[in-house]
């Protein structure tokens, strides 16, 4: 081993990877990602600036302003992505940018927040049973959240949160942080549910459940499906059962069938009757027909009522996505016998499929900017919260619109699909790093005790060489003027 010469020429040693480069001032290491800026090791991931004129490179649009009457001036918005943080807390935010929009002086305070209080809510469009509500959800074998209450046509996960990040051991904290980071950056993550399924979840992509890619979201519950298609079935078929783990629908008994004058068929359902033609709990939850645990639909039927049923009666059984369907005719003993599906019935099943939306996973990042981050914006932090609540301040995450939860603190949710790619980072504590920007009128910023001496004109920030300009994704332009206070 050679002894490294000790030369005081301002070089720094990078410890980001085992190459351990010595980096001279103004230069970068072997990876081009870390550099020496004035004796400090800095990460050079570019600072992202949204440039609206880059949006939709459609040739017939010269200026982006021409196509959206809602847009009022200002084509560039400085996001917090790559901006750096305010650590320690009293430091003003890294960028406090002044710009003029439509004659109004605006200020955007730009910082990357370190969020120990954060998580993601995942909506998975599927009727399949992914596991019991409250069941732990695991990544890399560690519990990182749980299955929460189901919503329309979807299963919901609540992942992360302060207890999983910081309160359940180092390994679980790291696994939670890694999964939240990947999901927030739009990457695929494999999750397992205790007493449930294994699935691949990725923002904007169909879920893959136990290795099977989900294609469609249900057209409606079993009862709604009856209502939607009753008229199209009339005359082509005598009975339809739409199998659904939540509400199984039966055409002849359903109000829709009654109104159309569809006669009784003598079908007898298992499960618990809610209202006419609507049945709960016809089977257990699972990954079979319509989110039940059955693969043979006849198991949810009792014997046909001999006083009503007649041989030759035609019956369709179909799931809420049309992915499973079978056609039966009653024999002399009133037993349903599976037959080839007649063309009009095939057509109606296809119609159900056609009316299903694509099944997707959607990921909302949720974090609370209650405490220290506010000090980077103003010397009087509570006024920031109040002003956000009074809608004098627009909060964005990498330029994407957020929903602010009412009540205390600045707890926001953002669709990660609207945030520019790779906007999220992490620190090993573990916590996630997310961009957050506060935009307001300049006079309002002064009033709430803003760091006015740190205001920088937009042109200065744009002149920085490390800035990367990208087109914004869908969503309202973050710099629209705010109402006067």
């Amino acid at each position: 081993m050679s002894v490294e010469p000790k030369i005081d020429d301002g070089r720094v040693r990078c410890d980001a990877c085992p190459v351990m480069c010595y980096i001279k001032p103004g230069l970068t290491g072997a990876c081009d990602r870390y550099g020496n800026e004035g004796g400090q090791l800095v990460r050079l991931d570019p600072h992202v600036i949204l440039d609206r004129s880059l949006q939709g490179a459609v040739p017939f649009l010269d200026r982006a302003d021409d196509w959206d009457g809602d847009i009022v001036g200002g084509t560039r918005f400085v996001t917090a992505i790559g901006a750096g943080t305010t650590y320690p807390d009293y430091k003003p935010a890294p960028f406090i940018v002044a710009s003029e929009i439509d004659g109004v002086d605006m200020v955007t305070v730009v910082t990357e927040g370190i969020f120990s209080y954060c998580g993601v809510k995942v909506k998975i469009d599927t009727d399949r049973h992914i596991g019991p509500e409250g069941s732990p959800v695991r990544a890399e074998g560690e519990a990182i959240g749980h299955v929460t209450t189901g919503e329309y046509g979807s299963q919901m996960l609540s992942l992360g949160g302060v207890h999983h990040l910081t309160g359940s051991g180092k390994k679980a904290g790291r696994a939670t942080c890694a999964a939240l980071l990947a999901l927030s950056n739009g990457e695929a993550v494999e999750l397992t549910v205790d007493a449930g399924v294994s699935m691949l979840v990725q923002s904007g992509q169909p879920p893959v459940i136990n290795g099977a890619r989900e294609e469609r979201m249900r057209v409606g519950c079993g009862s709604a499906t009856i209502g939607m298609f009753a008229k199209q079935w009339q005359g082509n078929i005598d009975e339809v059962v739409v199998v659904d783990d939540h509400i199984t629908g039966v055409l002849s008994e359903h109000q829709a069938g009654k109104v159309l004058g569809i006669p009784e068929t003598g079908v007898r359902m298992k499960g618990r009757r809610s209202t006419p033609g609507r049945y709960f709990e016809v089977a257990g939850p699972g990954t079979g027909w319509g989110g039940t645990d059955i693969s043979d639909p006849l198991t949810i039927l009792g014997p046909f009522d001999p006083k009503v049923a007649r041989p030759g009666l035609r019956m369709l059984m179909v799931s809420t996505t049309g992915e499973q369907a079978a056609y039966f005719e009653l024999d002399e003993a009133l037993r349903p016998i599976e037959r080839d599906m007649p063309a009009p019935v095939v057509f109606s099943v296809d119609r159900i499929k056609e009316n299903c939306e694509p099944a997707l996973c959607t990921v909302l990042f949720m974090a609370g900017a209650g405490g220290s981050l506010r000090a980077g914006v103003t010397e009087n932090p509570v006024r920031l919260t109040t002003s956000v609540k009074n809608a004098l301040i627009r909060v964005t995450c990498g330029g994407a619109p957020v929903f602010i939860w009412p009540g205390g603190g600045i707890t926001f949710m953002v669709d990660v699909a609207l945030v520019p790619k790779n906007a999220f980072g992490y620190v090993p504590t573990p916590a996630l790093v997310a961009p957050i920007e506060f935009t307001m009128r300049r006079d309002d910023y002064a009033r709430l005790g803003g760091h006015m001496s740190h205001l920088r004109p937009l042109a200065d920030v744009l002149a920085e060489t490390s800035a990367r300009q990208i087109a914004p994704r869908v969503g309202p332009w973050p710099l629209k003027p705010l109402p006067r206070s």
């Binding site: 010595y22 001279k24 990876c31 890694a178 990457e187 290795g211």
Partner: protein
């Protein structure tokens, strides 16, 4: 490619993610791999897992060998990546200055590709390590590569079609605008060779040869002034090339072409494309590259 069943590892150091189109991106430190594989979905998943497994610890092992690979110490590298690098530069050591570091990117690509091919049955696969590419082609398969003449300003200048029957399993590009230092003034020299490490070493040698040693306008700086640990020591590396006259461009290219022809004749390369300020010279026996 159907890779739904593949969940990439998320660790603090090695970063893995699936890119649109089903390619795999692996990143650690200076190693940045874009990986593609064709075959049955289950085979692709096995191959991607194998790539991740091979990358785990690869950089650590390589860094242990750095003194030998930067030729500040002598001896055989302990890790297989290092030995691939040493083998790739061996043919040149008696002629020009070259350390095994000249083949590092290609050697890493080869190591990962070889792990993938051992673990899975693939019809085709590539591992692209920042432009240095290792290829796998099952019999009868072919792959079309797009080539750029300025790595900092990518625009396709042409394509190379590689068939399984061709003796090409590696592609590499070297030039002064790239991430590694170059002694020459080529914007880019792209080489097709039997392996990625061999292509990497050859591209470095040819790009170093594309030069105008007496041209005063070319900005050159001792490598160690930029990177104290560079294997090039006090040798002057190119930092700036002014606009050159057509005769100067021709003269610089001619030097590179002479070297490339010598390597072609003795089987070190299969083809090379040399670029200086918009002019391109092809050195090849068949018709591998099309501009």
């Amino acid at each position: 490619m159907a890779i739904e069943a593949f969940a990439p590892v998320v660790s603090n150091r090695l970063q893995a993610r699936v890119l649109p189109g089903g390619r795999l991106h692996l990143h650690e430190g200076p190693i940045d791999l874009i990986i593609g594989a064709w075959g049955q979905p289950a085979e692709i998943v096995s191959a991607y897992r194998a790539a991740e497994r091979r990358m785990t610890g690869l950089l650590d092992a390589l860094c242990q060998d750095l003194p030998v690979l930067r030729a500040t110490a002598t001896g055989e590298a302990a890790c297989s990546t290092g030995r691939r690098m040493q083998a790739a530069v061996a043919p040149y050591l008696s002629e020009v200055f070259l350390t095994p570091m000249a083949a590092v990117a290609g050697a890493v690509a080869e190591e990962v590709l070889s792990a993938m091919v051992q673990a899975a049955t693939l019809s085709r696969a590539f591992v692209n390590n920042g432009g240095d590419i290792a290829l796998h082609l099952a019999p009868g398969e072919r792959l079309v590569l797009g080539a750029v003449d300025r790595p900092d300003r990518p625009a396709l200048f042409g394509t190379a079609t590689i068939s399984a029957a061709d003796p090409v399993r590696g592609v590499a590009t070297s030039g002064w605008r790239g991430r590694s230092f170059s002694l020459g003034i080529a914007d880019a020299v792209t080489v097709l060779a039997a392996s990625a490490a061999a292509a990497d070493a050859a591209a470095t040698v040819i790009a170093n040869a594309v030069d105008l040693p007496d041209h005063l306008g070319i900005g050159r700086v001792p490598a160690e002034a930029l990177d104290p640990m560079s294997d090039l020591g006090a040798r002057l590396v190119t930092r700036d090339v002014p606009w050159l006259s057509p005769p100067d461009i021709a003269r610089a290219l001619a030097c590179g072409v002479t070297t490339a022809r010598r390597l072609l004749a003795r089987g070190g390369i299969v083809a090379a494309a040399l670029h200086v300020q918009g002019r391109t010279e092809l050195v090849e026996t068949g018709r591998m590259m099309a501009a």
